[in-house]
Every structure is written in structure tokens, then in C-alpha cells.
Symmetry: C2
């Protein structure tokens, strides 16, 4: 499993979407687990301009994921989730 690097909301959203699908969950099911509306999950995954940080944290927890903060690595540019 390659490291999923995120530097933007969109990249983060894309990672979350993939993780959710890999877990075999729909947005509604995921939302139910953490008391988030399906629509809110949708916006989070879409990389909406301004979601609450708390929403991200909850989603990560529900998907059994964690964050690592580290200095930006120059070599990793190719691995970065490209938003487009």
C-alpha cells in the first residue's frame, strides 16, 4: 500500500473516498457510524472549500485511519494524489 500523501483538501477527499470504498461502505453507512449526513460525507470527499476539521477527524476514525505529519519530501511528488 503506497503512502497516500495529501497537501490539499481535494487530495485528502480522494484518499478518503478510496478508503471508504475499499472498506465496502457507502457514504450513508459511513455517515451513520459517525453521525454525519450522507451529504456532508459527499462534500468532504469532494474536497469542499471549507469543511470542519472535526469532520475529517471523525471520518478518519471511522475508517480506522490516522494522519502523519512530516516535512514535505521533494521526491514524493509523483506519489501525491493528483486532484486533477
Amino acid at each position: 500500500m503506497p503512502q497516500h500523501i495529501a497537501r490539499t483538501e481535494k487530495q485528502l477527499g480522494a484518499i478518503l473516498r478510496r478508503a471508504r470504498k475499499q472498506a465496502g461502505l457507502t457514504q450513508s453507512e459511513l455517515g451513520k457510524n459517525i453521525h454525519l449526513r450522507q451529504g456532508t460525507v459527499s462534500r468532504l470527499e469532494a474536497g469542499a472549500p471549507a469543511v470542519q476539521l472535526h469532520t475529517l477527524i471523525e471520518a478518519l476514525a471511522a475508517l480506522d485511519l490516522e494522519l502523519v505529519v512530516r516535512p514535505r519530501s521533494k521526491a514524493s511528488a509523483a506519489d501525491i494524489e493528483s486532484a486533477f
Copy 2:
């Protein structure tokens, strides 16, 4: 210190604060770089209940940091450091 794991807003805030200090910046200086008020930076670092995700992303960029999303490691938070 290269890799810091965050599962909560508070942990994330603490990491950001350390990174900022290590960069020799005050909250005001950091805020000026990314057009965030000093007070907003304060709330972010304090792990406020609901900060905008965008605020986090901006701060990470200003500190030349990036996020890695990965499955939670089973090991206790203490020795995850060398897990990967």
C-alpha cells in the same frame, strides 16, 4: 521527530505548534504568511473543536509540511515512531 502521528485535533494542534516554533515563527508571523489572524492560529494549535479544514491545510503549507494518511497501526502510540 520526523514523523508525528495525529488522531485528534489536539494532537494535530500540538504538532503544528512544535513545527512553528522550530521554524522560529510567532503565531502572528505565520498568520501573516497565509492571511490568518493570530487568534485563528491560536485556536488551531489549541485543537479547537471546529476549525476549518482549509485553515489546517494553509498552515501545513506555510510550514512546509505534508500529510500522510495510512491505516492505524496496532502498536501503542508511543512506539509507532519506527513502525514504518
